[in-house]
Amino acid sequence: MAGHGEVWVYAEEDWDELKEIGIELLSKGRELADGLNVQLCSILIGSKVKKHADILFEHGADKVYVCDKPSLEHYDTVKYAKVIEDLVEKYKPNIVLYGASTQGRDLAPRIASKLRVGLTADCTDLQIGDYKHTDGNQYKNILYQIRPAFGGNIIATIVSPKHRPQMATVREGVMPTPPRQDGRKGEVVIFDPALQNLQNVTQILKREKTEKRVNLKGAQIIVSGGYGVGSRDGFNIVRELAAVLGAEVGASRAAVDAGFIEKDHQVGQTGTTVRPKLYIACGISGSVQHRAGMDQSAKIVAINNDPNAPILSIAHYGIIGDLLEVIPKIIEDIKKRRVD
């Protein structure tokens, strides 16, 4: 039954580069496609984007649908939605996944509304399973769309058993990047829908790229400070530990809201989702919102003067003490080893 009811992932492209999220989606996409015994396909839309197909094949795509036109150079909601709507109509996929990026969250709902299908936002996990509807009907091999809700306090499993395709946006950074298999090949399907006379099209007059000063997503080690750091100056000691470890500086929402540090350092539900090798939480109590953004870290260290701080429940190491005393000790010990 391969070729029918495929699993599709939208491969977002911008500034002549594939976005990481489109690659990340291929790992979960592969798992779902294998479970359903169907092909995993990427959708690539833009101008001069065909060249990116190889990267998608090497990360697990069996097929790439390419819509490559000069008029698609810049993202436009209505134009891009039209391409995917027409693709869906023609090839009838079972599942379509998008990144929960600013673009994915602009595009996917427009398509879902047009196709009148379900859409679940910002999923952190996806699985295949059966569903028994309250009307007594059984549905086999349904996409479980799993996501936090109510500010991260609950995890909901959403299904859309009666409509196809089943669609979801997936949070960035939660799915691992699949390993690259050099030389892996696949099929390119060129798609060329009519895009003339579309209504409601927007025009980009100017684009500005802000260089990211903080790279939490790519960091191997993150030292984060919370409200317990106490002040803007208090963050100096957090920064110092980060510098010694070659780490990036993170923060909890409470620290950002208190004005101790800028928002681009924020880890958690409303900030960046991270999964570093080492996460050191300094003076962070560990609200569900914060934990949701860092609990996949390989090793978690919590430094907190409250022995009942929730962060300790997910920590591998806990140091109960005043961070202003503990952190200098760690810095000193590491420096000493370097000299030795």
Binding site: Q103, S113, A121, I154, I221, S313
Partner: protein, 298 residues
Amino acid sequence: MPEYKMVVLVKQVPDTKNITGEAMKADGTVNRAALPAVFNPEDLHALEMALQVREKYGGTVTVISMGPPSAVEVLKDALYRGADRVFLISDRAFAGSDTLATSFALKQAIQTKFPDVDIVFCGRQAIDGDTAQVGPQTAEKLDIAQVTYVESIEHLEKKKIKVRKLIDDGSEIMEAPLPVLLTVTDTANEPRPYMAKKLLKYRKAATDFGLHEQLPKYPKFKEPEALKKHLAGKGIFIEMWNAEDIGADPGQIGFAGSPTMVKKIESITLTGTGFKEIPPTDEGIKDFVAELIEDHVW
């Protein structure tokens, strides 16, 4: 100067940002009763943007909320801040609506009551569901242009609008035709406070649902109908629409109109199996750092 017709869509939400342990019931569901209901934060920025357009370019700001009778509170809040008119969409038939069914109802309301709208404003997303889907879906259903993550309006004229919007790694200046739906971020502006005069005028505003409760405060009136007339005369009766009023097909609202359904809800349980406690002493720290190095953490 053209008079821009603006509609702001707002939602009353449980205050999930300040959730505490008590807000969760033992079975893992949310104890809504323990959570204060608030004006969805980003919707306040949407309202502010509309009010600023009114001041700069002229026009009217109509605020619509869909929700239970208690949602009248956010509509009163909108009046205190300067909205011209407010309406409540409320009907049990809407219960269970997912984002698609919600956007259908909102579309019906706008199309039936404000067919000549120029700009629809929404907050980027609501803090209870965090979906950010209702805005774009409403735009699609209205068959109008959309711009999400809007930070500012740069220019507005009769048939088009120029806005600045955020993208993942920067910003864009976009031009869109009118009518348009904009979703507004919390960095766009600073919502204005209540105006004392408006507060005095509207604090007694009520909708059909509230009339019975209000009656004892007005000894002059024996019947809700009479009180309604009185309030309407003073311009503080909030009109309410049900599904029929906005011509909403029952098959497209509530559970029937919602493709998605909740299979399961779990509360977040802490899965930690216990941590190793490191004493905050020189010796403790030394052993700890050694252990991390041994584990090749760095």
